[in-house]
């Protein structure tokens, strides 16, 4: 690649690369996005959970995850009422204070607050701000055709914004880049599951999350470089509880909270930024690319509290996740004021009670900066399991 948005990691040792990834994640000046723009590139901001980035990528845009930020929503606050989650406020904040400049904003009908976000952005910015209506009846026999058509609509919009025609060849090339990315992320999660002592929770999270801020080709290069280095790390296995974290599908816990969890247990699986791992295996490169993307979204995908699919009862999916990573306990979290997350907590805990699987229920906020109380609670929970 001739132009890089994130050159800081180049030529460094593993620990330094991981440090640079964490720094990038917490940098509220968004250097990578700004470098992209300074180089003449256009930016497509998309809200959680899943967005078919391949379509924007194929037109040469930088797809960016508008997934909240560690900032105070000083400007955005007056645009919202009370009783709302932090992520929708901070996502607007970084756009209002021009830390992130966009050419397109997309939100999804994932929850009642997020559905309002496209309208709110639309009232405040001149660029197109839309909802991508991912199907909420994935069990309909027509949902595949509908989603293919909806992706077709998005493709036309992106072409209009960029002036670049998106051919099937370009789309296939983008799908290939993203297939590679999904493969690397699966390898990162394999490491977390099989040898969690080689990669701490916050390191794993940083490696995942920077993908939302840099071109996916660059992300692939970072991952390709670090995966063998992580595997060759010399670290001693410790006798720790293996834990699943559930509740990070939209608003993200602060990195320090994840670090704190990683110091007390092995976080062997989670749903952090699950949209980046939504599609479970390679999207086919044969036939119609948009249809293939739609097919993978519907038929070969993960789960979250904001998608109802008769084939994926959430409690059963969680039990499968716990079983697949051989976890001994679960943290059932929800972002403050996140209605779907809070509702799912009830279903999850009732099921875990039935199965006798230990769990700890908590709420978090992306901007929380004191973890002492939570750390003590988690420690107590884990000690109760050990002794």
């Amino acid at each position: 690649m001739s132009f890089e948005t994130f050159p800081e990691w180049r030529g460094k040792e593993l620990d330094e690369i991981l440090y640079e990834c964490r720094e990038l994640l917490e940098d509220t000046e968004y250097p990578t996005i700004n470098r992209w723009r300074q180089n003449g590139g256009k930016v497509a901001g998309h809200f959680q959970v899943y967005f078919p980035e391949e379509i924007a990528h194929a037109a040469g845009m930088l797809p960016v995850k508008m997934g909240g930020a560690p900032v105070e929503p000083n400007s955005a606050d007056s645009h919202f009422g009370s009783y709302l989650c932090s992520i929708i406020k901070t996502s607007l904040e970084v756009a209002l204070n021009e830390k992130v400049k966009l050419d397109l904003f997309i939100s999804h009908p994932i929850c009642d607050a997020a559905r309002n976000l496209a309208a709110i952005f639309g009232r405040n910015f001149d660029y197109p701000c839309q909802i991508l209506y991912l199907p909420q009846n994935p069990n309909s026999s027509h949902s595949l055709q509908y989603l293919t058509d909806e992706y077709g609509r998005l493709k036309r919009l992106v072409e209009e914004i960029t002036g670049n025609k998106i051919t099937d060849e370009k789309l296939r090339a983008s799908i290939e880049v993203y297939n590679q990315n999904r493969q690397y992320l699966r390898e990162i999660y394999d490491i977390k599951r099989d040898t969690p002592w080689l990669l701490t929770a916050d390191e794993g999270y940083a490696l995942l999350a920077i993908g939302g801020l840099i071109p996916r080709e660059e992300h692939n290069e970072v991952l390709k470089t670090v995966i063998p280095l992580i595997k060759s790390r010399v670290r001693k296995k410790e006798d720790r509880i293996r834990l699943v974290f559930e509740g990070g599908f939209c608003e993200q816990p602060p990195l320090d909270l994840i670090r704190m969890l990683g110091q007390t247990c092995y976080l062997v699986d989670d749903d952090f930024l699950i949209g980046m791992r939504w599609i479970l295996s390679d999207v086919s490169l044969e036939g119609e690319p948009l249809r293939n993307l739609a097919h993978s979204y519907l038929e070969d995908s993960s789960y979250s509290p904001v998608q109802h699919d008769n084939r994926k009862p959430k409690e059963e999916m969680l039990l499968k996740r716990i079983e697949a990573c051989d976890a001994g306990a679960v943290i059932i979290a929800a972002a403050k004021m996140c209605e779907p997350g809070l509702e799912e907590q009830v279903a999850y805990t009732h099921e875990l009670d039935r199965k006798g699987i230990p769990y700890f229920v908590t709420e978090f906020e992306e901007n929380m900066n004191s973890f002492d109380h939570l750390e003590m609670q988690v420690d107590t929970f884990l000690e109760n399991l050990l002794f």
């Binding site: 007056s78 009783y83 559905r115 309002n116 009846n137 779907p340 799912e344």
Partner: protein
């Protein structure tokens, strides 16, 4: 009371509406007592058109929940749900209904039958999470009628365009799948002529509903959009597709036209014409309204009348020659309109201000409903830059009395009206 024509006709809508409502709940109680089941549906896209063609009794859990608040027992139900793990930050409607179910259908209006099926749209995401509770509780089929909304504010796809047709085909396919599911659940064969009959009744109701709302353009207003409007909404939702519903609304138009002709308003002296944006404050429903009427303010229109009727305000007329296709168009346009009046409400409010001679806009975001409330502050800010109509922003809830502070509310409302009065004085108009 003497039985002059005026006494017979004025107030008939409220009297008959309340009676029909009681009858409806009595029927539901009877169904429950005989261990019958009902279809659980929601106000924004109830699919009553299909369900009524299978003679399925319908339960509106949203209406059940708001009834607990109006009857001042919601807190009991909310407490029970919270004891079962539901957070105080979750929609109060969901929690009250959860407790109703846990109590075997016990409700202040009677007994609520258990569900045989739940049919919901995506107009509110909480519908989906809510239905998942019944799915777990009763192991019943839940059907999400996914109706894509407007993608970008003010730019809905137009009928006949490629994008509209893509959405419509999706809706039509789902209607056909719902019909198959209803056949399975009821054991009855679908009768298209019966659907035509239901649609004919719905056409009548739609057309009357549109007229009733429009009649409030007159001065004085012939009904209060907040209080009377809620009664009308109950009938519009519960009895949609029935001959009783069609008749009720036909008579309601007659009543409102009579009031227009005779200059009969909702207040002795209408001082301020208001638009209500949000969801009513049911825990103190009557008192909340009085805080405005005491100052001569009356609610002329509301976004609630639009979205809580599932977009019936559009007055959409189904084509009985091609009922399924027409139903797909009507559902798409009406439910999309309902969603627009929540997400892009500034467009509707601006038109209301113009068409209904509005003096003030009252925004009432609530803790329970993020669908309606999330964008209100931003929408108000942008609308205030376009039109010069004073507005008030007060937050509380539709269910939870813990976040309803009447004294504080009164202070702000009083100050608002003092501002309106002084503005009027300054402008030298009355």
């Amino acid at each position: 009371m003497n039985s002059t024509p005026e006494n017979k006709i004025v107030g008939r809508g409220n009297r008959d509406g309340a009676a029909l409502f009681r009858d409806w709940y009595n029927d539901l109680s009877q169904t429950a007592e005989t261990d019958g089941r009902a279809a659980y549906v929601f106000v924004m896209g109830s699919l009553n058109e299909i369900l009524k063609s299978f003679d399925m009794p319908v339960v509106f859990p949203e209406i059940n929940s708001l009834q607990t608040a109006v009857r001042r027992v919601a807190h009991d139900y909310l407490d029970e749900a919270e004891d079962h793990g539901y957070s105080p930050d979750i929609c109060g409607y969901v929690k009250a209904d959860y407790a109703v179910q846990k109590r075997g259908g016990e409700h202040p209006m009677g007994k609520i039958p258990k569900p045989s099926i739940a049919v919901l749209t995506n107009a509110c995401n909480t519908y989906i999470k809510w239905a998942e509770i019944w799915e777990r509780m009763y192991d019943i089929p839940i059907f999400t009628m996914d109706i894509p909304g407007t993608r970008q504010g003010g730019k809905p796809s137009l009928e006949g365009s490629v994008d509209f047709e893509n959405d419509r085909r999706y809706v039509e396919a789902q209607i056909r799948e719902l019909i198959t599911l209803c056949e399975k659940v009821t054991g009855k064969k679908f009768d298209i002529d019966k659907l035509r009959e239901v649609l004919k009744n719905t056409n009548s109701l739609h057309s009357s509903w549109e007229k009733v709302i429009t009649l409030n353009q007159n001065t004085p207003a012939v009904f209060n959009a907040l209080t009377d409007g809620t009664i009308f909404l109950g009938v519009a939702n519960g009895l949609k597709g029935t001959p009783e519903g069609a008749k009720y609304f036909k008579e309601l138009v007659e009543e409102m036209e009579y009031k227009v002709k005779n200059g009969i308003g909702t207040l002795t002296e209408e001082q301020y014409r208001l638009v209500f944006v949000g969801v009513p404050c049911y825990p103190i429903f009557r008192r909340f309204n009085e805080l405005f009427t005491d100052w001569g303010g009356t609610f002329i229109n509301s976004t609630y009348l639009w979205f809580a009727s599932g977009g019936a305000n559009r007055g959409f007329q189904y084509d009985l020659e091609d009922p399924i296709k027409s139903l797909s168009i009507g559902l798409l346009m009406s439910v999309r309109d309902a969603m627009d009046s929540m997400f892009h409400q500034e467009i509707m409010v601006e038109s209301m201000v113009k068409d209904f001679k509005i003096d003030g806009i009252i925004y009432h975001p609530i803790k329970s409903c993020r669908t309606v409330s999330t964008g209100l502050a931003d929408s108000r800010y942008h609308l205030s830059k376009k039109i010069d109509v004073p507005s008030l922003f007060i937050e509380s809830d539709m269910m939870d009395r813990r976040v309803v502070t009447e004294a504080q509310m009164k202070n702000r409302i009083d100050a608002y009206f003092e501002g309106l009065a002084s503005r009027r004085q300054r402008m030298g108009a009355h």
